[in-house]
């Protein structure tokens, strides 16, 4: 077995040092009834690289990879071009096979990139401070609500109908078990909801997504002021982080906490994970924040260096009184984000965002003229909603048969709501060509005829 270095001679000599006759005797504390005397049944014996690769490659071959066909899927996960150097750098063993930087003298590399990550996240969201990442956008959203409950000492969250249903559902799961109240506004494809009517003096926070799940972009300045007037916090969720290269950031609109899905920068689609949750807030709330934080300090010779800090918020110190139970986060995905963002820089990030918006405008114009297709979103970034004259899920399945991944039917994420059955979310990114768009237009024409 290529991964196990001990030889039989080593094992014999080590057992002699320990003073036991066999490895089995080291397991003597295991109740006899629970000891397996032979390898687990059913699983084949060890296999070489070639055989394992064959088995798993066969599974991979049964999937249609998004890059091999015209693809327009979004709804919280976006296909962007990731520069080759990102994946090269994150596979350096010094990053890949290191762990949480508990010993700062030998993990300055990890600590420094996390400090850079925190700074980048704070900059793009327009906030004061960000943590070193959480699992994903949806879990970050739930953590933000629980943080708002701690800050305001209230226990009721109001969720916009434009919030990604997964973000809503993860928050609801946490609400059920952690014990707080959630008022979730109904799905809001037209962007007409009145969240202020749902706020009362028990409301800890209002959660809105921008761009919204259905695509609209909103100026949240007035909403922020109104929420603050009620003593609550405004949480802004960003499911497509590239939008922050073009839109006024939530921090400038008055957000108190910004959560985002960072997958778009540096990370592949990966069928939904691992992704990276971004979490940013105001300086005054930093001690209520969940997750790891890297801070600047000096070493014994007065040189600048980095350490994990404010850990008295965390579970390994505070145990049941911790701000969150999170331990492992998304370190390597955060590194990919940081490297990609560093490669883009100010110019590149803004250009990427403009390019995405331009592609989406082009696609919306192309589709809007088609018979049986109506663009619903009057404003959007790189994703918009169209209303079809047939159920969107059927249309999408038809398109898939023709080798086109044509979008995400709203009904997949909002099941059971007949009024939404004809709605399709369509995304265009920098990866989509004119030919892709033509293929979608033709495919839709056919599917709707």
């Amino acid at each position: 077995m290529r991964y196990l270095p001990l030889t039989e001679a080593d094992r014999r000599s080590m057992l002699a040092t320990i003073g036991v006759p066999s490895v089995d005797s080291l397991f003597r504390d295991v109740p006899e009834a629970a000891r397996l005397s032979a390898p687990i049944e059913g699983l084949a014996p060890h296999a070489g690289e070639m055989e394992v690769e064959r088995t798993i490659a066969a599974m991979a071959a049964k999937n249609i990879s998004a890059g091999s066909v015209p693809s327009f899927l979004g709804a919280g996960a976006y296909r962007h071009h990731v520069p080759a150097s990102v994946d090269h750098l994150i596979q350096r063993g010094e990053f890949l096979t290191s762990y949480t930087p508990y010993q700062p003298e030998v993990t300055q590399g990890t600590l420094q990139y996390l400090f850079e990550f925190q700074t980048q996240v704070a900059l793009i969201t327009g906030m004061d401070v960000a943590n070193a990442s959480l699992y994903d956008g949806a879990t970050s959203c739930a953590e933000a609500v629980m943080m708002a409950n701690r800050v305001t000492r209230r226990g009721k969250a109001v969720l916009s109908g434009g919030l990604h249903p997964h973000y809503r559902d993860v928050t609801l799961t946490n609400a059920r078990f952690h014990g707080f109240e959630v008022v979730a506004a109904p799905a809001d494809p037209e962007g007409e909801e009145d969240l202020l009517a749902l706020i009362d003096d028990k409301t800890s926070c209002v959660v809105v997504q921008n761009p919204g799940f259905f695509g609209q972009v909103r100026d949240l300045t007035d909403l922020a002021a109104a929420v603050h007037a009620k003593g609550a916090l405004l949480i802004v969720a960003v499911a497509e982080v590239v939008s922050l290269g073009l839109l006024t950031p939530p921090g400038e609109m008055g957000a108190d906490i910004v959560v985002a899905e960072g997958q778009s920068i540096g990370n592949s689609l990966n069928f939904g994970g691992p992704y990276v949750g971004l979490f940013a807030t105001r300086d005054k709330y930093v001690r209520h924040m969940p997750g790891r934080l890297t801070g600047q300090t000096v070493d014994a010779e007065g040189r600048r260096g980095w350490v994990l800090t404010l850990s008295t918020r965390e579970q390994h110190i505070r145990r049941e009184k911790a701000t969150s139970n999170i331990c492992t986060n998304s370190g390597l995905c955060a590194l990919a984000f940081t490297i990609h963002m560093s490669l883009l820089g100010e110019e590149g990030f803004k250009r990427l965002a403009r390019l995405n918006h331009a592609k989406a405008v082009q696609l919306a114009d192309r589709l809007d003229g088609l018979k049986g297709v109506e663009v619903v979103s009057d404003s959007f970034f790189n994703e918009f909603t169209v209303r079809l004259k047939k159920p969107a899920s059927k249309v999408v399945n038809k398109l898939a048969k023709h080798g086109i991944l044509g979008g995400v039917p709203v009904s997949r994420l909002h099941p059971g709501d007949e009024a939404l059955a004809d709605l399709l979310l369509v995304t265009a990114t920098e990866t989509n060509t004119d030919a892709d768009m033509e293929a979608l237009a033709h495919g839709l024409k056919e599917a709707l005829s």
């Binding site: 490895v23 934080l293 579970q315 918006h357 991944l405």
Partner: protein, 530 residues
């Protein structure tokens, strides 16, 4: 494991131990050959430069409604070679499994096979969107289902929830399942809200119990480092929802009474949550189902070797007993006549109606699933059994080779990790922390220190099965040498360590007192000072 919040010994570092290394180097740059000083990316800004060539967007009319386009963000501009050099240099300041023995107890820092990296990057697995039609991702669903099958087989459990994103997230899943099952059985007003957690538990256990709306009640350890069975029985009652027990426990010991504990817990109408962080010690040799557990998370980044990545991403599937099998999070994969499909909502025809909700976005840590499956298939039934055997053998070898110079906390044999405390340092003026820092200069990542909390100044050493005997012998020689050095009165050597690292001891107290959590441009800093 936790080392934060410990007082550092910075104040005690005199000039003698202090500037020696840098002063001796005497370089103009501050560099020391391969050890290069590297500023922040923000301090290398060439405005207007970018490392990504993107086409200029065509002229078009934006559709941003009332939202203004943003102004300056403040991101630095660098070319590709500059970015590559920057992150390469940062990587060189890290200790990693690839470079040496990383005996961080309870974290299972074993070798990460590169085949697994290669396979996770196959476009058919990495470049698929989670919302693609199910017909277009049958292979991905098959892979999740296959991994689920092996996790169930290896644990003997009938069900597994695949979506949790890490160990602590798996705990949340398991405890949510327990609460959902109790409410289903006893009604939603059930007063079973007390969870018993041993004092030696990982901090995530009590934090998770609290996050699920339970109260935490600590159970003491007995003199052998295990749960005190009588104390546990005395605490059981009709308000107890569950016990959360790590097995092998955080002292590196197998809980001998585990079957009796499970029986007592079940008899009291409560559930048994097992923290599976240490599954590496028993994989292929013991099936947790045979111990009577109801739920256990498996850290794929520990036992199944998905890379730790500087702190994630992890993955924490949770195996469940028959009693909990229906109380799962959404979504999950099912296999019907038509192939594989996902149950994504309680309204799905295939849903069982008892699902407790969603834990994260989309379907789980697919990238980690690929690596874990490759690991399982590579090892096979014989290899996995050998993993546990060698992990336990290596730890006992370290224990046997050090127990005459260090103080083992409990009688052996241990499982996959060896626990020592700081009694052997008594009167030397050297603490566990100082000892750890001296290990760094010797080329080792320190073990987990000051955890578990049940012994004083803990050294928790987990060598894992991927260390050779030669590697262990070298480590043992260093540990023995350091122990002798400490006892010989050379405290100064330890108090000044590490001396040869990119940075010496860092001021953690100062970092927490006045937190600087991001870079700010010098202009803003100057403005702030005025």
């Amino acid at each position: 494991m936790n080392t934060q919040g410990r007082k550092t010994h910075i104040d005690t570092l005199g000039v003698e131990g202090g500037n020696a290394a840098s002063a001796a180097a005497g370089t103009i740059s501050g560099n020391r050959a391969l050890m290069l000083e590297e500023p922040l990316i923000f301090e290398q800004d060439s405005p207007g430069t970018t490392g990504v060539d993107l086409p200029e967007p065509p002229t078009f009319k934006p559709r941003l409604g009332k939202v203004r386009e943003r102004g300056t963000i403040g991101l630095p501009g660098l070319s590709e070679p500059e970015v590559i050099r920057h992150y390469t240099r940062l990587s060189q300041k890290n200790f990693a499994i690839d470079s040496g023995l990383y005996p961080l107890g309870s974290c299972t820092m074993k070798h990460n096979p590169r085949l697994n990296e290669k396979l996770a990057r196959l476009p058919g697995l990495s470049d698929i969107h989670p919302m693609q039609p199910e017909r277009t991702v049958q292979g991905a669903l098959e892979l999740i289902d296959t991994l689920a099958h092996w996790l169930k087989t290896l644990t003997g459990m009938p069900a597994v929830a695949m979506s949790p994103a890490a160990g602590a997230h798996g705990e949340l899943c398991g405890m949510a399942a327990i609460r959902a099952a109790i409410e289903d059985r006893d009604g939603s007003t059930s007063h079973r809200r007390r969870v018993l957690v041993p004092e030696s538990a990982h901090g995530t256990n009590p934090a998770t119990a609290a996050a699920c709306g339970f109260t935490v009640d600590a159970i003491p350890a007995d003199a052998t480092g295990r749960v005190d069975l009588e104390a546990l029985k005395a605490k059981l009652g009709d308000d107890v929802a569950a016990i959360m027990l790590t097995n092998p426990n955080t002292c590196g010991l197998f809980e001998r009474d585990i079957i009796e504990i499970a029986d007592a817990v079940h008899k009291a109408g409560a559930f048994f949550y097992c923290d599976g962080a240490n599954f590496n010690a028993i994989v292929g040799r013991v099936r947790p189902a045979d111990l009577g557990i109801d739920a256990m998370h498996i850290n794929l980044h520990k036992t199944f070797s998905t890379p730790h990545g500087g702190g994630g991403p992890g993955s924490g599937p949770v195996v469940l007993s028959e009693a909990l099998a229906k109380f799962v999070p959404l979504p999950y994969v099912v296999h019907g006549e038509d192939g594989f499909s996902l149950v994504e909502s309680g309204e799905d025809d295939q849903a069982n109606g008892k699902e407790f909700g969603r834990l994260k976005g989309f379907h789980g840590q697919m990238g980690m699933f690929v690596r874990a499956l490759a690991y399982i298939l590579s090892h096979g039934a014989d290899g996995l059994r050998q993993v546990a055997s060698d992990a336990v053998l290596n730890a006992n070898y370290v224990m046997a080779s050090l127990k005459d110079v260090m103080t083992a906390s409990f009688e052996g044999p241990c499982m996959h990790e060896a626990l020592f405390d700081d009694r052997f340092l008594k009167g030397t003026g050297v603490t566990t922390l100082d000892f750890a820092k001296a290990m760094i200069d010797e080329g080792y990542h320190p073990m987990t220190m000051y955890f578990p909390l049940v012994v004083h100044g803990a050294f928790l050493i987990e060598p894992t099965e991927t260390e050779s005997k030669q590697s262990l012998d070298a480590f043992i020689r260093v540990m023995r040498g350091l122990a002798e050095r400490a006892r010989s009165g050379d405290a100064e050597h330890f108090l000044g360590a590490p001396r040869m690292t990119p940075r010496r001891r860092l001021d953690e107290t100062g970092a927490a007192r006045k937190p600087v959590l991001r870079w700010v441009p010098e202009v803003s800093q100057a403005e702030a000072a005025e």
